[in-house]
């Protein structure tokens, strides 16, 4: 994990510094004269070779634990990240909760009632959900449930009600993927000999499905759901912007718009770290689902 993170720091650094656009110009525009501009460039160290700049960045981060200050607000990036992390965390977790709840349930129904109207309906919905861009889906949700019915606030944060629409919007696409995955996995397991054994014991069909089949069918679904977390982090950036949710996503967008290098670098690194961490957790969770892995 450490070597991967190291490579990511290089990529993130190069990506940010080689992007066209100058943070100082963007921030002050034409308000400052050439001399002040040069001074500011010198102060931020932009005139040093990239390698030196990278070295300084790594030294500050790895040794001092300092992620730098935002060019724009002059506040500590790490403080701001910590403040906003909770918002994004609860949003992604809740989205994943919806995604798994909807995805696994609909997937099982689709598989057990294969080729029925329910199954067809489920499959059509998943294609639709996968094809709709999140920002548009979010706006539609807002239009219907917030503006028309007035059940939820349109945007912002504060109460748990603010969370419902953004998390549903974000979870929907992932739910669709999980539906398809669960369906094919359950269909595969249903053909296994041990399912026939369970039925031959006189076990109820519901227990056969929810215990014998599901425990086996979920193993690949868990992997996929873990990988989808990466997608969720990306999606959160868009959804947070749509719903004005004060999480990391909107911070990142602001950062990119103003070429706020320390902010962008810190967030790319954080997102990558989250992704790696989730993959690790997925690997560990195998042990609970598959006894063979637990012992080996």
């Amino acid at each position: 994990m450490i070597p991967i993170l190291f490579i990511i720091t290089i990529i993130a650094f190069l990506f940010v510094h080689l992007t066209p656009g100058d943070p100082i110009r963007i921030m002050y525009g034409a308000e400052i004269d050439q001399e002040t501009y040069e001074q500011m460039r010198e102060r931020e160290g932009f005139n040093d070779p990239l390698v030196v700049q990278y070295g300084r960045y790594m030294y500050n981060m790895a040794i001092q634990g300092d992620f730098g200050q935002s060019y724009r607000t002059r506040s500590d990036v790490s403080e701001e990240v910590l403040r906003r992390f909770g918002y994004t965390f609860i949003l992604t977790i809740l989205s994943m909760f919806w995604a798994i709840l909807i995805g696994v349930t609909v997937g099982i129904i689709s598989a057990t009632k294969r080729n029925s109207i329910l199954d067809r309906l489920g499959m059509i919905s998943t294609i639709t959900a996968l094809s709709i861009p999140e920002f548009w889906f979010g706006l539609m949700m807002m239009q219907i449930f917030a503006v028309q019915f007035g059940w939820f606030p349109t945007s912002g944060s504060g109460t748990w009600l603010h969370l419902i629409l953004p998390s549903l919007t974000l979870g929907f696409g992932v739910a669709a993927t999980i539906v398809r995955f669960t369906r094919s996995s359950v269909l595969e397991v249903l053909r296994e000999d041990y399912v026939r054994t369970a039925r031959a014991k006189g076990q109820k069909e519901s227990v056969v499905i929810w215990s014998h089949v599901l425990r086996n069918a979920l193993i690949p679904v868990v992997t996929m759901a873990g990988l989808q977390f990466g997608f969720l982090i990306g999606g959160a950036v868009v959804v947070e912007q749509v719903f004005a949710w004060p999480g990391l996503g909107s911070y990142l967008i602001d950062g990119i718009l103003t070429r706020d290098y320390p902010v962008i670098q810190a967030l790319i690194l954080l997102f990558s770290f989250q992704f790696l961490l989730i993959n690790l957790l997925v690997d560990i969770s195998y042990g609970f689902l598959n006894p063979q892995i637990r012992y080996e």
Binding site: D193, Y194, T197, A198, R199, A200, K201, Y295
Partner: protein, 326 residues
């Protein structure tokens, strides 16, 4: 007639499967019975309908595409085909249980052995976890598993194929069923383990007095295990007799062919006999005997008319025009 009653009595059972919009009879009007305490061998090549027949007794035919299209399956005088799913569940694993061909895949990989035996015990008996556990360990001991307490908490992947089949037998016999259906239980095992499992089944049968329907394509196994034999070919019963007659005085050319293809240790032969051709696909034979194309003794009549079952002597029937009296 003997006085023992029939535990299972199948009459004119027809099972159809739908494929490409057409319904095909995979099992075509078969009748046979199993007496209490008896072991009946059901012999035939792959695809002759023997496994489908056994699944239909359990009410486990995958439907769709399959369905029982006619006939009756009487178990202790009651037609199982009239049973509702809920009542059928009380029969499965309790009165009739089944062990399968593939011990490697027949146990659920994510549950312990103990849990899988407990499951059937708890479903059909009024017992608590501790009682179930004790009974499960007792069953493991009964089927000759060493260190049963340890195996109880093992997972299937930690056991060999032979051991897993013993576990399957333990599950099958846990509720003391009246009928055990064994669908090629030793086919997937190597020969030494095969012999052990067969001995075990013979042993347990004597102890528990369970009737067994033993499905196999191995006539050696039949000789060792069975009292009577039903030979199936392409969805029909072609010969039914006791096991002595099967080996000493077989009638149907198909049975003769099967017996002829067993290598004998006492003879040196250049080339082992085999029945030429292949089993016709279900539903492809339109008229005449289904075995006609492969038969050494085929006559003109065989290609025209489907032979009925002819009564040979007491308890011996054969579906072949050779034995027509007219």
């Amino acid at each position: 007639m003997t006085m023992t009653k029939n535990i299972l009595d199948i009459k004119d059972l027809t099972i159809n499967f739908k494929s490409d919009g057409k319904e095909i009879s995979v099992v075509d009007g078969i009748s046979f019975h199993i007496k209490a305490g008896e072991t009946l061998g059901v012999v035939g090549e792959s695809g002759c309908g023997k496994s489908v027949t056994s699944l239909s007794i359990m009410g486990l035919i995958p439907s769709p595409p399959g369905r029982v299209a006619g006939g009756t399956i009487e178990f202790e005088g009651k037609n199982l085909l009239d049973f509702k799913e809920k009542d059928m569940r009380k029969v499965r694993g309790n009165d009739i249980s089944m062990i399968f061909q593939e011990p490697m895949t027949s146990l659920n990989p994510v549950f312990t052995i103990g849990k899988q035996i407990n499951e059937v015990l708890l479903l059909h008996n009024d017992m608590n976890q501790t009682e179930a556990r004790n009974r499960s360990i007792e069953m493991l001991k009964l089927v000759g598993i060493p260190r049963p307490e340890q195996i109880y908490s093992n997972y299937p992947y930690q056991l060999s194929g032979g051991m897993r089949q013993r576990v399957m037998i333990a599950i099958g016999l846990a509720c003391q069923p009246k009928l055990l259906i064994a669908d090629e239980p030793t086919t997937a095992l190597d020969v030494t383990i095969q012999a052990q499992i067969l001995n075990l089944m013979q042993d347990l049968k004597e102890k528990t007095d369970t009737s067994i329907m033993f499905i196999t394509h191995d006539l050696g196994v039949v000789a060792e295990m069975c009292d009577r034999v039903v030979v199936m070919y392409s969805g029909q019963v072609v010969e039914e007799t006791d096991v002595d007659t099967l080996f000493n005085d077989p009638k149907h050319p198909y049975t003769l062919g099967l017996l002829g293809s067993i290598p004998k240790a006492t003879e040196k032969i250049e080339r082992l006999y085999s029945i030429r051709g292949q089993v016709p696909q279900a539903g492809t034979v339109e008229k005449g005997c289904r075995f006609a194309d492969r038969c050494d003794k085929v006559m003109d009549r065989c290609r025209e008319e489907d032979p009925p079952l002819f009564q040979m002597k007491q308890g011996h029937q054969c579906r072949c025009w050779l034995y027509a009296e007219d």
